[in-house]
């Protein structure tokens, strides 16, 4: 029986992407702790392996070694679905991303819609985790994560829409092609407001840096993943980094010209830009205190959404000319 070549291509791409994401998650854990160390003028992980290279591996082994504990009269099923659900959509989100002129998994016309559809799934995982662990603190964390993600989904969509409107297509490949090779031809200078809004929403969407309220350690003693230990916590941890990858790669494709670059355009330019965005997000975490919850929502509903809509209008007006 003949298997549709398209299907094999997608399956191979999915496996490649999962490997890419897993490898990157491990590397990002190491990079984050090293960056945190250097910002705080200390070496960061140093003991395990040369300069702490094997530290993430040691952490992973430790997390796998731990006993899988379900909190007393917590809902066992929901409790263990949540981490899996947090990690699942990541591979699908990276599917339509065009890493290089030829290296892309799946060239479909509605790539952007696919990504944004699955990006919203992450909040369901946090909500289930909070509810399933029968812990007052996680409940508060879950409630916060739902409100936060809902509030920041809309400006994200609208800012991405304004870029898609300007380029006239939702296909990531054409979006990359329309941006030239030089930085000033990329969208982040053509449409800076959308870029700013996108970055803020991206950081809020992945619960990072000043917006890490669902797992605000100092208030909610670790928020939704209070009761998780071992691989449950490990999966949430990996999911957070994977989502960061997704968000950074979408940012590079839409605003930083994907694989275009002054020298020979190719997937290496894409990686350089992606890691630059990831580095920026990490630096945010080690500089700013946490935003209060009502300020977080006010920022989105009162500032970002009107701004994004106004930007959309302006872009539409310019496109019409």
């Amino acid at each position: 029986m003949n298997i549709d070549p398209q299907l094999t291509r997608i399956l191979v791409a999915l496996v490649a992407i999962l490997l890419f994401v897993a490898a990157n998650a491990i590397v990002l854990v190491y990079v984050e702790r090293k960056v945190a160390g250097h910002v705080q003028r200390r070496p960061g992980p140093y003991e395990v392996g040369f300069h702490g290279i094997l530290q993430p591996v040691a952490d992973a082994v430790k997390l796998m070694g731990k006993q899988l504990v379900t909190p007393g009269d917590g809902d066992r099923v929901i409790f263990w679905i949540a981490p899996l659900l947090a990690f699942a959509p990541v591979a699908l989100c990276l599917l339509p991303i065009t890493f290089g002129p030829r290296t892309y998994a799946f060239d479909i016309d509605l790539g952007l819609v696919l990504i944004l559809a699955f990006a919203g799934l992450n909040v369901l995982a946090l909500c289930l985790a909070g509810w399933g662990s029968n812990n007052k603190w996680s409940l508060l964390g879950a409630a916060r994560s739902v409100a936060q993600n809902v509030a920041y989904e809309i400006p994200l969509l609208v800012s991405v829409l304004s870029v898609a409107l300007a380029t006239g297509s939702l296909n990531l490949n054409t979006i990359t092609l329309t941006q030239g090779t030089w930085p000033w031809q990329w969208n982040w200078l053509i449409n800076p407001v959308a870029f700013g809004i996108y970055i803020i929403c991206a950081v809020a969407e992945t619960n990072r840096a000043p917006f890490d309220l669902p797992e605000g350690e100092s208030e909610l003693t670790a928020g939704f993943h209070t009761e998780y230990s071992g691989m449950g916590f490990g999966l949430f941890f990996m999911a957070e980094y994977a989502n960061m990858l997704v968000v950074a790669s979408v940012a590079t494709v839409l605003f930083l010209g994907g694989w275009n670059g002054p020298g020979a355009p190719g997937w290496w330019w894409f990686l350089v830009k992606m890691y630059a965005v990831v580095f920026f997000i990490i630096m945010l975490r080690w500089t700013f205190p946490r935003v209060r919850f009502d300020q977080l929502l006010n920022l989105s509903w009162k500032w970002l959404i009107p701004l994004a809509l106004a930007n959309l209008l302006v872009v539409a007006f310019i496109v019409k000319l």
Binding site: H38, V39, R41, R42, P43, M283, L284, W286, T287, F288
Partner: protein, 176 residues
Amino acid sequence: MGFIRETGNAARGMWSLAVGLKVTGKYFLSPQITCHYPREVLPNMDTFRGHIELIAKPSNPAKSKCIACGSCARACPSGCITVIKKKAEPAPAPEAAGQQDESIPAGQKKKPPKKTAPKEPSLFALDFTTCSLCGQCVQVCPVSALRFSSAINLAGYTREEFHYDLLQRLAEQAEK
């Protein structure tokens, strides 16, 4: 009008965030200042007060200046010092004692002059688990026979490992 002021605040706010990022960025690139403890040791470890130790006599490094008066044991708030005075030799040399007996008429039986106990501790133990390094013993010692050691890297598996016999420690130091 309020809207203009709001955007003004927001702009200044964004600028302050950028300044914050500049500060951490600057420190990200500046050298580290921490000391890798097992490999490097900070230079000022000798001024740190470890547990107390006996000071040796200038004449004989194996003997301590302590006269076993026990005032440090009494002064210690947590009672972690035990000092036992050395006993006099039990049997004075037989002929010396016997000879004095005849010379004294039987009526006034004077006790033979007991050999005075030497002013030295036979045991000077410190229970470092309850010591709080307050220094009362060092201050109150009449012959200032105690001082703070700079023994800092103390680790042990059982509580007994922190019961120090300071005389033995002094003897070891004497050999070194």
